[in-house]
């Protein structure tokens, strides 16, 4: 069998970076599926792209800017209407330092 493209440890590391709590079965399934996709993607290696510039925008544009003008803000109540938890005019989050 070919070497897997991605190890379980890498799956765990990436899940941590992405702030996704995955269950053990999810991790195993994820590894298997990512491995299949990465194996498919491997076909890109066949292309020599050393002298090819990367494209980040298909339609090239430059210097799009706005003038420094103040626009009306969103009223605080409208902003907080969507917040899962608030305290006064603040958005409230659980303690930052890990338990």
């Amino acid at each position: 069998m070919a070497e897997p493209k991605i190890t379980l440890a890498e799956v765990e590391h990436v899940a941590r970076l992405a702030r996704l709590d995955l269950s053990e079965p999810e991790k195993k399934r994820m590894r298997f599926q990512l491995d299949a996709i990465l194996t498919y993607i491997d076909k890109l290696r066949r292309l020599d792209t050393d002298d090819v510039e990367p494209t980040s925008h298909a339609i090239p544009m430059v210097n799009v800017m706005r003038e420094d003008e103040v626009r009306p803000c969103l009223p605080t109540e409208e902003m907080l209407a969507n917040a899962p938890e608030r305290e006064g005019d603040f958005v409230r989050v659980p303690r930052i330092i890990e338990e």
């Binding site: 991605i6 890498e10 799956v11 590391h13 990436v14 899940a15 970076l17 992405a18 702030r19 996704l20 709590d21 995955l22 999810e26 994820m30 599926q33 990512l34 299949a36 996709i37 990465l38 498919y40 993607i41 491997d42 076909k43 890109l44 290696r45 292309l47 792209t49 090819v52 510039e53 990367p54 494209t55 980040s56 925008h57 298909a58 339609i59 544009m61 799009v64 706005r66 969103l74 409208e78 902003m79 209407a81 969507n82 917040a83 899962p84 938890e85 958005v91 989050v93 659980p94 303690r95 930052i96 330092i97 890990e98 338990e99």
Partner: protein
């Protein structure tokens, strides 16, 4: 069953009124949506209020334009002020935007009426609308089959006449593929043609909003209303917007049409191939000159796409964390737990898979090998099209290698990804692409014909599609629903 243009004429002649039409649509939605499940939210009250306003304008002889009073459906990926915008996701289920997307503001200024928000694959990731966190949408032509995706709700709504037209979004084929599966017209405009402001981002460098309609003219009318520069979107261009309906009658005499060899692959549905070849003959019969062209990097486009789109998605979806809006998991003792649980419970399997893939592709040590490489391949895909368009005015090919498949048929993610093999290169190159009905299988399922144009040349796409539509019967067929 009317078209947008026909209804406009009836409004002006007084044969129909917006309130009457909207009531009829709301009734039809009530009757048929439980089967098709195209809508996630029906905005009954606002639709009726908008209809009354349109009616007043029409009575006063001062309609806002050709879309005044026309009832449309909006994919739930487009933000609507005061109307829940869930994006097919549990994580956004409680979200009510305090702002309108630019396209919504423009449709409003054109007098269009919004009937509701349509179901979709979660965060527009999918090709069957089965990835909706809420329920799958059914194909009106066969309720056991998928409508395509990710804009499956919008496509099904138009096909089932639950709206006269709709807006969808297309990142890798999400307008064109469901349009093909549902037998409607669907147009993905050139990247930058339509503002993305208020479109919940999936892959920012690929996403584009576009119209669905039952005929080409309808799609042209909606595009006319939403296209054009928006100062709120730095990637929207200032290229002038032509009069699309005026371009429809141009005909295709002498038009150079390219047939890309790489879009007729082994394993594709023979009925699809036959229908597309027949359509090419129709175009020839109308005076187009066809020639073979080659897009040699087509085979690599899908692989490049599945690095670029997930990478951008992993970044765009980082904001859904239970802090400011949307779903927050209960019981997290600290922030890290709250983040991890909220995102684990709030996102579905496909979204998690793409976040993982994208995060991996951008992570330290892999960026050049994956994301960087994919961006270089993107350049090669773009060049292929540039070279082809030196010789031809547009390209014609199938929209998808197959017709609508059965629900649950594609369990393997990679098999699902392959549905978009003919639509993805167009997004990578930022080009306009249009899918229109090009025939039916023996069992009565629609087949999509894809036209691909030069940047900002939607007018040529629309005129060629219109010419084809005028001499073919496909768009007049409707699914039987009761």
């Amino acid at each position: 069953m009317a078209t947008i243009a026909e209804l406009g004429i009836r409004y002006r002649s007084g044969e129909a009124t917006p309130t009457g039409v909207v009531r009829a649509y709301l009734e039809r939605i009530e009757a048929l949506n439980p089967q098709v499940r195209a809508y996630f939210t029906v905005t009954r009250d606002t639709a009726l209020a908008q209809a009354e306003a349109a009616e007043k304008r029409l009575k006063a002889g001062a309609p806002l334009g050709l879309l005044d009073g026309i009832p449309l459906a909006i994919k739930d990926v487009i933000c609507t002020k005061g109307i829940r915008t869930a994006c097919g996701s549990k994580i956004l289920e409680p979200f009510v935007p305090p702002y309108d997307a630019t396209v919504i503001a423009r449709l409003g200024a054109a007098g269009a009426i919004i009937l509701g928000k349509t179901n979709m694959d979660e965060f527009a990731m999918g090709s069957s609308t089965e990835n909706s966190a809420f329920f799958p949408t059914r194909n009106p032509w066969d309720l056991g089959r998928v409508p395509g995706g990710s804009s499956g709700g919008s496509a099904a709504a138009v096909a089932a006449d639950l709206a006269l037209g709709a807006l969808g979004s297309d990142t890798g084929g999400s307008i064109r593929q469901p349009a093909a599966f549902c037998g409607t017209v669907g147009l993905k405009p050139t990247y930058g043609r339509v503002s993305r402001y208020g479109l919940v981002a999936f892959a920012s460098s690929l996403d584009q909003i576009g119209p669905f309609a039952r005929d080409v003219r309808g799609a042209a009318l909606i595009l006319q209303a939403i296209a054009g520069h928006d100062p709120l979107d730095s990637t929207s261009t200032e290229v002038p917007v032509p009069d699309y309906t005026a371009a429809l009658g141009r005909g295709i005499e002498g038009l150079r049409v390219g047939v890309p060899a790489e879009y007729f692959i082994e394993g594709m549905d023979p009925e699809v191939e036959a229908a597309v070849r027949a359509a090419i003959d129709v175009l020839k019969g109308l005076g187009a000159r066809t020639e073979k062209v080659s897009l040699p990097h087509t085979d690599y486009a899908l692989a490049a796409y599945y690095l670029i789109a997930p990478a951008e998605a992993s970044s765009n979806l980082a904001r859904y964390d239970g802090v400011k809006y949307g779903y927050r998991a209960a019981g997290g003792k600290d922030l890290i737990q709250m983040y991890g649980r909220t995102r684990a419970e709030g996102f579905g399997a496909e979204v998690k898979r793409r976040i993982m893939l994208g995060t991996y592709a951008l992570s330290a040590g892999y960026y050049e090998a994956y994301y960087g490489k994919a961006q270089r391949v993107r350049t090669l895909v773009r060049r292929d099209f540039q070279q082809a368009f030196e010789r031809v005015d547009l390209l014609v090919c199938p929209t998808a290698p197959s017709v609508a498949f059965k629900l649950g048929d594609k369990e393997d993610p990679l098999q699902m990804y392959l549905c978009d093999v003919f639509t993805i290169p167009v997004n990578l190159a930022g080009l306009p692409g249009l899918s229109l009905p090009g025939g039916f299988t023996a069992t009565g399922l629609p087949i999509g014909l894809q036209l691909i144009g030069k940047p900002f040349d939607e007018a040529t796409l629309l005129s060629a599609a219109y010419a084809y539509e005028q001499v073919t019967p496909w768009h007049t067929r409707a699914p039987e629903l009761a």
